[in-house]
């Protein structure tokens, strides 16, 4: 199931990228459907990954009830913690034609690098995989660089990053 989810996610992302170069301008309907499918696949994939990580961490099941509870809590939280990240990611997935949102996407242009680094795992082949440590450092670097307190929206992304690191660490 999560293999399928990962494949669909990678497929969706590459389709979203190729949409931007198509003749006639960005098709809003198509990009909306693609990003919805991508997010659904990503949620499944992340949930599956969290469950797997949680299982790997179970060394001694001293309290048999406690162990299954942990992954449950995390997976319950993940949709919520993903939401601010989603919010931050969405402007990159739907290229805004409106002027009022253009500034927002420009401000996120730096963040785009971070996001790509996060998803190199899922993009087909081309980019070299970054190790988890490097990834964390890179993200931390991003946080420091963009932490200039200019916009509240960036603050949202900042809160998303620590949560993400929490997931990776656990």
């Amino acid at each position: 199931m999560d293999v399928e989810a990962k494949r669909i996610m990678a497929l969706s992302i590459s389709k979203l990228y190729s949409l931007r170069t198509q003749r006639g301008g960005l098709k809003l309907h198509r990009s909306l459907l693609l990003s919805m499918t991508m997010r659904a696949a990503r949620d499944i994939y992340h949930t599956a990954q969290l469950l797997r990580d949680a299982e790997e961490e179970q060394v001694v099941p001293c309290a048999p009830d406690a162990a299954p509870e942990e992954p449950m809590e995390i997976s319950k939280d993940s949709p919520q913690t993903l939401t601010p990240k989603e919010v931050a990611m969405k402007p990159q997935e739907t290229v805004e034609e409106d002027k009022e949102n253009r500034c927002a996407s420009e401000r996120h242009s730096r963040k785009r690098r971070g996001k790509t680094a996060l998803e190199t795992d899922f993009l087909p082949l081309k980019k070299a995989k970054m190790e988890t440590d490097e990834e964390k450092q890179h993200l931390q670097g991003e946080v420091l660089r963009t932490n200039n307190g200019n916009s509240c929206r960036q603050a949202e992304t900042l809160t998303a990053f620590p949560t993400n690191r929490t997931i990776v660490a656990c």
Binding site: L28, L33, M36
Partner: protein
């Protein structure tokens, strides 16, 4: 032909004509993007990706030979839209004709609206079969005569000439839409029309090009909160205050323009609860409505989503009264169809003249006739192999799995590049126009 436009499976369909190039190498500009009969059915218009409109006219029937079918021949061809470039946004605007809608005929001339992604145009199509001859000051070729040679005075007269059909743009409606226009619909008042893009619907007056009223706006304040877009809109055939619009979430909203100027709040919301057993990654995509059409009598409306056609009673909002599966065998193939982008194909649908049968397209150049009154359906194919005059079309069957019977075609053998997205039904007779990628097929009811 006295046909009432009725009958579905009692009707046997025969090949009548095919228009377009024969070779398999399809030029992109020739891809047909819309097909529409006018209100009398005498004229049939097609629009293509190259921005051209071709109008066919039905020959006047030969009364002495009732079995002789009236054929459609080219009446007029013109370039409706050209590719444009929006310099401000650095975007190319495609010339592809998204929709054509005819206006009811008021005088000798015919009028139609054609639209691409951004601009709607009103075209006047008129005939000229006489021309004035015998001017005093000009020669017949237009050169001015030497005044000294003019010794007599004569009255110019009209003389017959070869029929010439002229198309001229009478109105150009620009700058009404930020997003891509997906549909237009002429009001029954014959004065106004709607145009819809992904997020907004505008009401125009046919005479006024420099402004329009925005009647629906679903753009959220924060684009990140966008969850659905408008996919089609249509005016009610008789009530000039009522229109519907469909969404990418599978809902249809009916709006009454008498209720308020801005129709963001719907009068009715048509929505069927999702079947949880069918839930998949692609549920959102396949529930997106690609077309909505009122029945001729105005009591029902039909919607097309990726796998089915639904008929709704305007008085019942919680579920459709009829649901027809177009190609249910594709449900297990959604992932592959997502990969090759076919899952995003927007199929249209249409009613026959007396609302007893509906038609929609599928893949492999198949199209489906769904008989509401007899609860039967048939799959037919538009193919060059069934092109003999008056050749009866044989029903086709698709084998979903397991043992393939003789004459059946398996799902894996279907050609997903051969899709029928656009179909039209003559308003009164059993004549249908079916567009494959670059060919237009005309089928008629078999006459005995």
């Amino acid at each position: 032909m006295a046909g009432a436009g009725g009958g579905g499976n009692d009707v046997q369909w025969c090949f009548s004509q095919v228009k377009g190039a024969i070779d398999d190498d399809v030029a992109e500009a020739d891809i047909i993007s819309t097909v529409e009969f006018n209100h009398s059915g005498e004229l049939l218009a097609t629009g293509d990706k190259g921005g051209r409109v071709v109008i066919f006219q039905q020959e006047t029937e030969n009364k002495s030979q009732p079995q002789c079918r009236s054929e459609y021949n080219v009446y007029s061809t013109f370039q409706s839209h050209e590719p444009e470039f929006d310099y401000l946004k650095s975007l190319e605007i495609e010339e592809k004709i998204n929709k054509i809608r005819w206006l009811p005929q008021k005088n000798a001339a015919q009028f139609l609206l054609s639209t691409n992604d951004k601009t709607i145009k009103l075209w006047k199509i008129s005939e000229r079969d006489k021309r004035p001859e015998g001017y005093n000051l000009k020669e017949e070729d237009g050169r001015y005569r030497d005044a000294a040679t003019i010794t007599t005075l004569r009255v110019p007269v009209f003389r017959p000439m070869d029929l010439m059909v002229e198309a001229s743009p009478r109105r150009v409606f620009v700058n009404g839409h930020t997003y891509h226009i997906n549909s237009i619909s002429v009001n029954s008042d014959n004065e106004t029309y709607l145009s819809a893009d992904d997020l907004r619907i505008n009401l125009w007056h046919l005479e006024i090009t420099d402004r329009s009223f925005n009647v629906v706006d679903i753009k959220p304040a924060n684009m990140e909160e966008l969850t659905e877009v408008i996919t089609a809109t249509e005016f009610h055939p008789h009530q000039c205050n009522t229109f519907v619009y469909s969404s990418s979430k599978g809902t249809i909203r009916l709006c009454d323009m008498r209720a308020s100027a801005l129709c963001d709040k719907h009068s009715k919301l048509f929505e069927e609860p999702e079947d949880p057993s069918n839930r998949s990654f692609f549920s959102e995509i396949i529930s997106s409505i690609s077309d909505v059409k009122f029945s001729h009598n105005g009591r029902y409306m039909m919607t097309r989503d990726y796998l089915s056609v639904k008929i709704w009673d305007l008085n019942m909002e919680n579920r459709p009264v009829e649901t027809y599966q177009v190609h249910e065998y594709l449900r297990s193939k959604l992932c592959s169809l997502y990969e090759n982008d076919c899952i995003f194909d927007k199929f249209e649908c249409c009613w026959n003249g007396n609302d007893s049968v509906v038609m929609t397209g599928s893949y492999n150049n198949f199209f489906r006739m769904l008989d509401r009154s007899q609860r039967r359906d048939v799959t037919l194919e538009a193919s060059r192999e069934s092109c003999k005059p008056r050749q009866v079309l044989k029903p086709r069957r698709v084998c979903a799995g397991g043992k393939r019977k003789k004459d059946e075609i398996s799902v894996d053998s279907l050609d997903f590049n051969k899709k029928i997205l656009h179909t039209a039904w003559h308003p009164q007779e059993n004549i249908i126009a079916v567009a494959t990628t670059n060919n237009l097929y005309i089928f008629q009811e078999k006459m005995n």
